[in-house]
Amino acid sequence: MTATDPAVAPARTLRPDQVDLRIDLGPMVLANPFVTASGCFASGQEINRFYDVNRLGAVVVKSITLEPRAGLPTPRMAETGSGMLNAIGLQNPGIDAWMAKDLPWLQRAGVPTIVSIAGKTAQEFRILAERLRGVPGIIAIEANISCPNVEDRNIVFACRETATKEVISQVARVSTVPVFAKLTPDVTDIVSIAATARAAGAAGVSVINTLLGMAIDAETRRPRLGAVMGGLSGPAIKPIALRAVFQIHQALPDLPIIGMGGIRTVTDVVEFLLAGASAVAIGTANFANPLVAAELLDELPRWCAARGIRSVTELRGGLRL
């Protein structure tokens, strides 16, 4: 889109480069609202083959655990109606190998990095956060307390207020950067979990993780995932994600929210901002199009400019009720 003649263009129309994309995420300012959903972007290098990932507001890396994890048996993925199930099982090289191999690249490339951490206990979460103290390039920690692909699904921390409080308070106590709690919508009341996370010291919440689901092959009578159940993502979950962001923002309007769940188009992005998200994470859409986050980053200022929106922060919570 090019500059239009002000005499004929509607008075409120801007040029895309006049749109301020910066957003506040609690104590942080991101260059733009686009981050990546953990587990959908590895640690950035693979997608950097297609574009400079340091253009994004931040990269949220695939969850890191204390020890290396081999992950779950295949098949790990099943495509479902407008969505997909995954059961990867937090496969990752462990914090030591990640800091030795992946982190240096992120630092060299100047990628604002949010490290997703996952532990089996609150203590493991704390140790992970301690290892990340004062490390250059890391702008925040995302505590993944809601991964559905864990051995004991009764220990999904974000399903219980007490467990949420324990993990987030331990991480927040030792972390030198803001802590975001990644929440699951598989709860009776996500607002109370978000409020608990905030009270325990979370700077914000990442909403939502995948929903626990399953798929069955009628012919073979087998589950389509090796792990039987897995996390549902993609456009199929977008209405649920919007609802969760909306509910949390209504109850806790000052709490920064990274909204995610099925975002694929620029209007999806805008809808999440209107519901109350400050930033948006692109997840499954990266699988369908490795360039999607960069394309949305180019499209959002055009969308705003055409509507005379000077700053994307104007959109946050702008839902008309």
């Binding site: 083959r49 574009y51 098949p75 993925m77 407008s82 073979t220 456009p235 699988f287 369908a288 490795p290």
Partner: protein, 304 residues
């Protein structure tokens, strides 16, 4: 008719000057080869960068589909009026491949590639045996043409359920010193499995290296025979993929490394692997007899 996507027109091509890229590619040809479909895309940059064993992933628009479909590259042409083309072979197994089968000349399709690691070529002249199952023959015929250009002896074994599932027997004969066919029902060549004729070909051709592509149980069986003959064996796996670009960790294969067995991504660390180092036992396809088949172990490249 001028090409929609031509060399130098960069507007529809995104990516770096090397490695994989994304392009909107015009369909130049859609043909049937035996029981399979073949699509040729105008993709000059990809044609220039592709090597045998690599794949492309294609965005499809079938009912309820979300993810790209990965396909081994069957052939590339870098010259001619269309500047450069890439051809893939597939079978209609679900809504994604059904949609793809409905594409015709001049349709435009969203393609990412070339992806994955190619077949490593022998450093010095050696007798090569290429073994393909079903449309797993496609990347091997691409490899065979490269080996032929280098003057290496190439023997080919293709196997399938029946004659119409053998991909491109004519091309296999043209590109090889000897070509053998095996079918489960005996409608072409020897009745049986590719491994039933391997020993004989290896002895006659003094095979020095084996390349294979096809369903996992076939690759397991071929790897076991290769190991018995102490012949290096490179296999291209057909694992179900979500992203194809290395970020989702869906398409993993258990692989023995110095530090122990690790789940490697077939889209990034493969699809070509050293067959001797894949942990077939863990996949329920070990050399010990009669293991139960692993769920999804014979999944085609396009699971939907």
């Amino acid at each position: 008719m001028t090409s929609i996507v031509s060399r130098g027109s960069t507007s529809s091509v995104q990516g770096r000057s090397s490695g994989p890229l994304r392009a909107m590619c015009e369909v130049l040809a859609h043909r049937r080869v035996g029981g399979y479909q073949a699509l040729t895309f105008v993709a000059p940059e990809m044609a220039e960068r592709a090597e045998p064993g690599q794949f492309i992933s294609v965005a499809v628009d079938g009912a309820g589909t979300l993810l790209r479909r990965p396909f081994s590259i069957f052939s590339v042409s870098q010259h001619g009026p269309w500047a450069g083309t890439v051809e893939i072979v597939f079978d209609v197994v679900g809504p994604g491949t059904k949609w793809l089968a409905e594409r015709s000349k001049h349709d435009v399709v969203d393609v990412v590639g070339p992806l994955g690691k190619p077949f490593p070529l022998p450093a010095q002249p050696v007798s090569c045996l290429l073994i393909g199952g079903g449309y797993g023959a496609a990347p091997l015929l691409y490899l065979a043409s490269e080996l032929q250009q280098r003057g290496f002896r190439t023997d080919i074994i293709l196997g399938a359920k029946s004659q119409d599932r053998i991909f491109n027997a004519i091309e296999a004969k043209r590109l090889s010193a000897t070509a053998q066919f095996t079918t489960d029902d005996g409608t072409l060549g020897t009745q049986g499995k590719v491994t039933d004729v391997m020993d004989r070909v290896i002895e006659q051709a003094r095979t020095g290296v084996i390349y294979a592509c096809g369903p996992m149980p076939m690759l397991a069986a071929v790897s076991h025979v290769a190991r018995r003959h102490r012949i290096p064996c490179q296999v291209a796996v057909e694992e179900a993929m979500a992203c194809g670009v290395g970020v989702c960790w869906t398409c993993v294969v258990p692989y023995a490394r110095k530090e122990g067995v690790a789940n490697l991504r077939s889209c990034m660390d493969g699809p070509v692997f050293n067959g001797a180092r894949i942990d077939w036992d863990r996949l329920g396809m070990g050399e010990t007899p009669a293991p139960p088949p692993a769920p999804g172990g014979d999944a085609p490249g396009d699971g939907a």
